[in-house]
Amino acid sequence: MATLLEISGLTSHYGRIQAVKGIDVTVQEGELVALVGANGAGKTTLLRCISGVQPVTSGSVKFAGEDITRMSPEGRVALGISQSPEGRQVFGPMSVEDNLRLGAYRRSGAAAIKADMDRIYEMFPILHKKRDLPAGTLSGGQQQMLAIGRALMARPRVLLLDEPSMGLAPLLVAEIFRTIVTLKEAGTTIFLVEQNANAALAIADRGYVLETGSVVLTDQGQALLANEKVKEAYLGL
């Protein structure tokens, strides 16, 4: 398997506060990798660095062997790095369909884009039903589906998901995780960030545990689930 995403010694700051303190993470093609950690551990900051919307202080981000540490965010999207951000961040006043269409902003080929949109509507029929409504009128779960759908419209080579289960009712959480598994089975490479460590590690090939900006543990997903330290700290067992 080829290494798709390779993060080495990455650090990042907000002013003087170091939020990410020298992280090494790799994601292989076709893998589902989970990154779990408590509130404020630096998960979102790491994803923002990967997408290029957060300055990197030192270290590097490589994608398919190419150093992209200084590349613009739009350049990274064109390369195939697509993110569904924390808090969904849909374009509230714009229609569901416009939101999805904007997900394919860096692509050309109207027919292929249309076909992908139909695929997303098939995956999330409720989005098709509400395609002409402003995205801001959707429920939290529907907005999450839209955020994932919008990210998929870029035809990502790696899909970054930041806390897709945040604030959702248990039934919806289960549905979102089922969707993630389906995407993985279809061959999508996924880097999943979650506070819901239990659910994330259960479906992940590999996992990383992040604590105050540093990776403290990494192993197979199932192994981390069984790890006593992880159980104690993150699974509430």
Partner: protein, 291 residues
Amino acid sequence: MSAALLQYLFSGLTSGAIYALAGLGFAIIYNASHVINFAQGEFIMIGGMASATMVAAGVPMPLAIVLALLIAMAVGVILEKFAIEPARNADVVTIIIITIGASIFLRGAAQIIWDKEFHSLPAFSGENPIAVLGATLMPQSLWVVGVAGVVIVALWWFFNRTMFGKAMLATSHNRLAAQLVGVGVKKVLLASFALSALLGAVGGVVVTPITFTNYEAGIMLGLKGFSAAVLGGLGNGTGAIVGGLIVGIVEALASGYLSSAYKDAIAFIIILFVLFFMPNGLFGKRGTDRV
């Protein structure tokens, strides 16, 4: 309706159309950057001065107008590239002060490149007034309102039917999400200055046959465009248009029925009134998700 009232309405709608274009210019830049560009009025002045002086120098009017619009757009792009872009990490207030500095610079430059005199363009379809129910309408007023209408429809099409327009809108709604789908935010900012400059200059060109223009003409026009944008709700396109028409009409009525000394005060009064009593303007209710 009395002929006098009709006369004031004609005049109010004519100036209102120009304020609406200027107000849209404020809105577009505000949406892309949250910056209030106080050099917006100078785009109007440049449109008027450049076209008027070129026509006076013998350039055919259609060519002079196109060149004037291009010059204004180039000034907008240069302003963004060399004054706004380098300061993009500064806070918004700093950038607004930069735009005030730029407006002073542009007025100075206009004085040097052209002069301090008033300039005019010939009216596009002659000077024969049209009589309407006892009031008179200058053909140029129809040009002003008609051109503003066409520009507004074109803008609507741009923002609702083209991908780049939608990307600009998306950036105004959620900058981070726009970056994450691959919208180049720098390009959006540059385009917003070019577009705002174009809107201002179009207004400047069509109104110059009626009002004349000089290097300082942008101050008042910019201020009135700003009051239109504030009245409509900063960043709201429809609001800027309605706001512009209201400012124009109220101003015409006040100078007609009270005293023309009040004409320029109306815009100030509207700005103060809105700031005190309805800070979101008529159409603004933008929430907290805007960075």
